[in-house]
């Protein structure tokens, strides 16, 4: 059993990991930037080490400072959370060479899925369907045009090193493709340090459905069902739910098919620990592999609620060398869970981030409500990091109950001194199409266009 773990992250996920450790009787070390000195994860951990000033590049991304902190507190393992260094194979290697266990996939698995183009090639190799597209990286404008001609417009130009919904551009014809190709390469170099791009068919009215996987160090891999994350704004997830209404109401056999495909790909990559295999599903029920997220994900709580499995604890146990004690046949799904990401953004001002001081904070409660958050009354949201200040999860025996509970919880959630996306999410809960379970990835665009805006303002 690990005695002590360092959490190389901040905010709500750091609190989440600390909670999992406490329940396993493992001591915790928090690292924090000077901007986070009053943050909740610092208060909850047994020990805390300051690792630099506010900006992430000066603190949470400083590998040597995190390793130093791990050494002086003599931890057994590091949990990287999500974002930051969680998918950095170099960081995983440094941990292992310093005799500190990295709680996540091996660097070998990370390298097998090193970027989107490599993962796509591996998927093809093991017979997992991928969207029609280029064979690999597209080196020239001519190649881009030829690919588009072959697969047909519209197409998506994607940065190979992109992730988290970033680094993608749509092109509807040759002219926009030529312009978009050049712009995409420049942006990719700046944002990801890698100008490589590839091209995929743009699947319209698609559904983003991802599968949670767990693998131990002995090659046993299981999936824990899907999460439907189609409710996105500018490719950033806003609401996630499980089971997926598309699968549950229309294509029930997809769960087994896609689950098997996810495991097949994970096995080919010798994947270990927790991960998520992302797919797009079209209106006809065809599914296509997108990418693998090689870490615990923001929306993991909804899977926990319907399966009863603590994913962060499983990560820790797997990292300790424990074999998976759950077999695929033992995985049970009960009820329905929805998550709303609560962001410090103004939905009435194009979702402008509003980091400010929270005056009054009254969190929702009652049956079936879970809130994963690090905020409190008087807390000042720092401007250096992403705007998510919490995740509200509602669980019900069925989808209807989960939606009603989420709506009740959003309605009783009080946050003053700060603007949040709560009224926006309340509008989505009331939306007839959402309630019917009929939506795809263009849902929010449609919601925010024109007449629907009044509904959001009314509910604020």
């Amino acid at each position: 059993m690990f005695e002590k773990i360092l959490i190389a992250n901040r905010g709500e996920i750091a609190v989440r990991i600390i909670r999992a450790c406490k329940e396993l009787n493992i001591k915790t070390v928090a690292v924090y930037s000077e901007a986070d000195v009053n943050s909740m994860h610092v208060q909850l951990a047994d020990e805390a080490i300051c690792i630099g000033p506010g900006p992430s590049t000066e603190s949470y991304l400083k590998i040597e400072r995190i390793i130093s902190a791990a050494e002086i507190t003599d931890v057994d393992a590091i949990h990287p959370g999500y974002g930051f260094l969680s998918e950095n194979p170099h960081f995983a290697d440094v941990c292992e060479s310093c005799n500190i266990r990295f709680i996540g996939p091996s660097s070998r698995a990370m390298n097998a899925l090193e970027n989107k183009a490599v993962s796509r090639a591996l998927a093809k190799k093991v017979g997992v369907p991928t969207p029609p597209g280029s064979e690999g990286i597209v080196e020239t404008q001519e190649e881009a045009l030829m690919t588009a001609k072959r697969i047909g417009y519209p197409v998506l130009i994607k940065a190979v090193a992109g992730g988290g919904g970033r680094g993608m551009r749509v092109a509807h014809n040759d002219i926009s493709l030529m312009k978009g190709y050049v712009a995409a390469r420049t942006e990719a170099e700046k944002s990801f340090g890698n100008s490589g791009v590839y091209i995929e068919k743009f699947i319209e009215n698609s559904h983003h459905i991802e599968f949670q996987i767990l693998g131990d160090n002995r090659g046993n891999i299981i999936h824990l069902g899907e999460r439907d994350c189609s409710i996105q704004r500018r490719n950033q997830k806003v609401i996630e739910e499980t089971p997926s209404p598309l699968i549950e109401y229309k294509f029930k056999d997809l769960r087994k098919k896609m689950g098997k495909a996810a495991i097949r790909l994970a096995e080919a990559a010798h994947y270990t620990n927790a991960g998520t295999v992302e797919f797009l599903v079209d209106e006809k029920g065809n599914f296509y592999f997108l990418e693998v997220n090689k870490r615990i994900q923001v929306e993991h709580p909804i899977t926990e609620e319907v399966t009863g499995i603590d994913l962060v604890q499983q990560q820790i146990l797997i990292a300790m060398g424990e074999p998976l004690r759950i077999s695929q046949g033992n995985v049970q799904f009960r009820g329905h869970a929805i998550e709303c990401r609560i962001n410090a953004e103004d939905p009435f001002d194009d979702f402008r981030p509003c980091p400010s001081r929270i005056e009054m904070y009254y969190p929702p409660g009652g049956r079936g409500i879970r809130l994963d958050s690090h905020i409190y009354s008087g807390y000042s949201v720092p401007p250096y990091y992403d705007s998510m200040i919490g995740k509200l999860i509602a669980y019900g025996k069925d989808r209807r109950e989960a939606i009603d509970r989420m709506s009740r919880a959003l309605g009783e959630f009080i946050l003053t001194g700060i603007k949040t996306t709560i009224p926006f999410e309340q509008a989505i809960m009331q939306d007839p199409n959402f309630r019917r379970g009929v939506y795809s990835t263009n849902f929010i665009d449609q919601l925010l266009g024109g007449a629907r805006r009044e509904m959001i303002e009314d509910l604020a």
Binding site: E3, G52, T73
Partner: protein
């Protein structure tokens, strides 16, 4: 250590709580955990450093002084080697390039410069102790 019906687990004392008490947990047969604090000499993490002059007990006025802060995370050493004299002591005159201490991180000994001109009036960290980013190491009266 195991005795009939009891199990005792020794744990390291926490570094930053300032206590030198090692906690013991006694698990009774019924499975309840009771804590018995036991005074023990605190354990040092680094190889035992040689004795160095401690900071004087006299109250140091904070007026007209500036702090030299740790630019990294690691273990603080006052001298280049265990048997060598410390880089600086109280009263030492320093300028921007004077090496005042070492912070060891990942087996690399990093020489830390004063980056200020003046006189050392206080040493704020004990030799061999861990330091975090931004932690004050010395107090200096600027020239």
């Amino acid at each position: 250590m195991e005795r009939e019906g009891f199990k005792i687990r020794m744990k390291r004392g926490p570094i930053f709580s300032g206590s030198s008490v090692v906690e013991e947990h006694v698990i009774s047969e019924a499975g309840q955990v009771t804590q018995l604090p036991v005074a023990q000499p605190s354990q040092t993490l680094a190889p035992t450093p040689p004795p160095v002059p401690a900071a004087p007990a006299a109250v140091i006025s904070a007026e007209n002084t500036k702090e030299i802060k740790a630019p990294m995370v690691g273990t603080f050493y006052r001298a280049p080697a265990p048997d060598a004299p410390p880089y600086v002591d109280i009263g030492a005159q320093v300028n921007e390039d004077t090496v005042v201490c070492i912070i060891e991180a990942m087996k690399v000994m990093n020489e830390i410069k004063a980056e200020i001109k003046g006189t050392i009036v206080q040493v704020l960290v004990e030799n061999g102790k861990p330091v975090e980013f931004g932690q004050p190491l010395f107090r200096v009266r600027p020239a």
